[in-house]
C-alpha cells in the first residue's frame, strides 16, 4: 500500500479520482505511442543493418582499389589528383515527424549532374585502379546518405522509446497504484467516519429514550 500523504476528505477524494482518470488516459496513450514507435523502430533497424552491411562492403572494396592505386602510383601524385574536386555537394536537411520524434531527411544536390565530374584528374598519369575506386565510391554514395539518415533516425527513436518506456512504467507501477490505494484509503476512512457517526447517534437516541422512560416512570 502506497498511500499518499493527504487529508481523507471528500474534496481530496474527488480530486484524486479526476487525477486517476487522467493518469489512466495518459498511460494508455503513452503505451500506444511506445508500441507504434517500437514497430517503426524495428523496421528501421532492420533496414539500417542491411544498408550498413552493403555500405561497409562497398567501401572496403573501394579502399582496396585505392590501396592498389597508392602502391602503383606515387603517393604525392595520388594526393594531387584527388586534391581539387570538381564536384560539390550540398545537403538539404528537412525533418519528418514520426510519433513526435523529428527525424532528419537528407537530400543531396550535386553541383553538376554528370557522373564523369567525379573524376577530378586526367586519365593520363593515374592508375586505372583509382578510377575503379572513384567509381565504386560514387555508386555507394547514395546509400551512404541514406545510411546516415536512417542511422540518425534510429538513434533518436531509440532515445525516445527509452523515455516513453520509462514514463509508461512510472505511470503503471507507481502513480496509478498510488492513486488507487489512496482513493481506497480515503473511502474507507470516510465510511468508517460515517459508521461511527451512526453508532454515536444510535447511542444518543438510546440514552435519550431511556431518560424519557425514566422520567415518565417517575411522574407516575
Amino acid at each position: 500500500m502506497a498511500v499518499m500523504n493527504v487529508n481523507p476528505t471528500r474534496m481530496e477524494l474527488t480530486n484524486l479520482k479526476k487525477k486517476l482518470v487522467t493518469a489512466r488516459r495518459g498511460h494508455k496513450l503513452l503505451k500506444d505511442k511506445r508500441d507504434e514507435l517500437m514497430r517503426r523502430f524495428l523496421d528501421m533497424v532492420r533496414e539500417n543493418k542491411e544498408l550498413r552491411r552493403e555500405v561497409e562492403q562497398a567501401i572496403l572494396e573501394a579502399n582496396k582499389h585505392i590501396s592498389v592505386a597508392r602502391s602503383v602510383m606515387q603517393g604525392q601524385a595520388l594526393d594531387v589528383s584527388l586534391m581539387l574536386p570538381k564536384q560539390e555537394l550540398q545537403l538539404d536537411v528537412t525533418s519528418k515527424n514520426v510519433m513526435s520524434v523529428n527525424i532528419p531527411v537528407f537530400e543531396i544536390t550535386k553541383r553538376s549532374a554528370r557522373d564523369s565530374d567525379a573524376y577530378s584528374y586526367g586519365f593520363g598519369f593515374t592508375s586505372g585502379d583509382l578510377d575503379d575506386a572513384v567509381e565504386s565510391l560514387g555508386k555507394v554514395f547514395e546509400k551512404m546518405v541514406r545510411l546516415a539518415e536512417i542511422e540518425k533516425s534510429c538513434q533518436m527513436m531509440s532515445a525516445e522509446i527509452e523515455k516513453t518506456r520509462r514514463r509508461v512504467n512510472a505511470l503503471e507501477h507507481v502513480l496509478i497504484p498510488q492513486y488507487t490505494d489512496t482513493i481506497k484509503y480515503i473511502t474507507m476512512k470516510l465510511d468508517e467516519n460515517e459508521r461511527s457517526t451512526i453508532t454515536r447517534l444510535m447511542k444518543v437516541k438510546d440514552m435519550m429514550l431511556k431518560e424519557q422512560i425514566e422520567s415518565h416512570k417517575f411522574q407516575t
Binding site: M38, F41, K49, P85, F106, A118, A148, E151
Partner: protein
C-alpha cells in the same frame, strides 16, 4: 544548406574528395576531437568518421547522439572493418528494447 564531411586517416578518406565531400585528415584523437567539434558547429549535417577514430571519439560522439544534427556515422577505413558500426546499431536496439533482439 548543409555540407558533408569525412574525418579519418588520409589514406582512408581521400577517395571521398572526388564525390564533393569535405575531407579532414586527422591522425590523433585530440586533433580529431577538435575537428569534429568545429565541423559540428559550422554547418556540417553529416560527418563520416573512420572506425578507428570513431572508437577514440566515443565521448564526443555520445554528445551528438541525441541532437538532430549532425549525424556522425562510422565507416570502415583502409585498415579494415572493426565491426563498431554494427555494434553501434545494436546499441540503439539495446537502448530501445532492453536487449539486442535483431542480431
Amino acid at each position: 544548406m548543409y555540407k558533408m564531411a569525412v574525418i579519418g586517416d588520409k589514406d582512408s578518406i581521400y577517395g571521398f574528395a572526388c564525390l564533393g565531400i569535405g575531407i579532414f585528415p586527422c591522425e590523433d584523437e585530440a586533433q580529431a576531437s577538435k575537428t569534429l567539434r568545429e565541423l559540428a558547429k559550422s554547418g556540417y549535417g553529416v560527418i563520416y568518421v573512420t572506425e578507428s577514430l570513431f572508437e577514440l571519439l566515443a565521448d564526443d560522439v555520445e554528445h551528438y547522439r541525441d541532437l538532430p544534427l549532425p549525424a556522425i556515422i562510422p565507416i570502415p577505413g583502409v585498415k579494415g572493418n572493426t565491426g563498431i558500426g554494427m555494434r553501434n546499431v545494436s546499441l540503439s536496439v539495446e537502448k530501445a528494447v532492453g536487449s539486442d533482439i535483431i542480431s
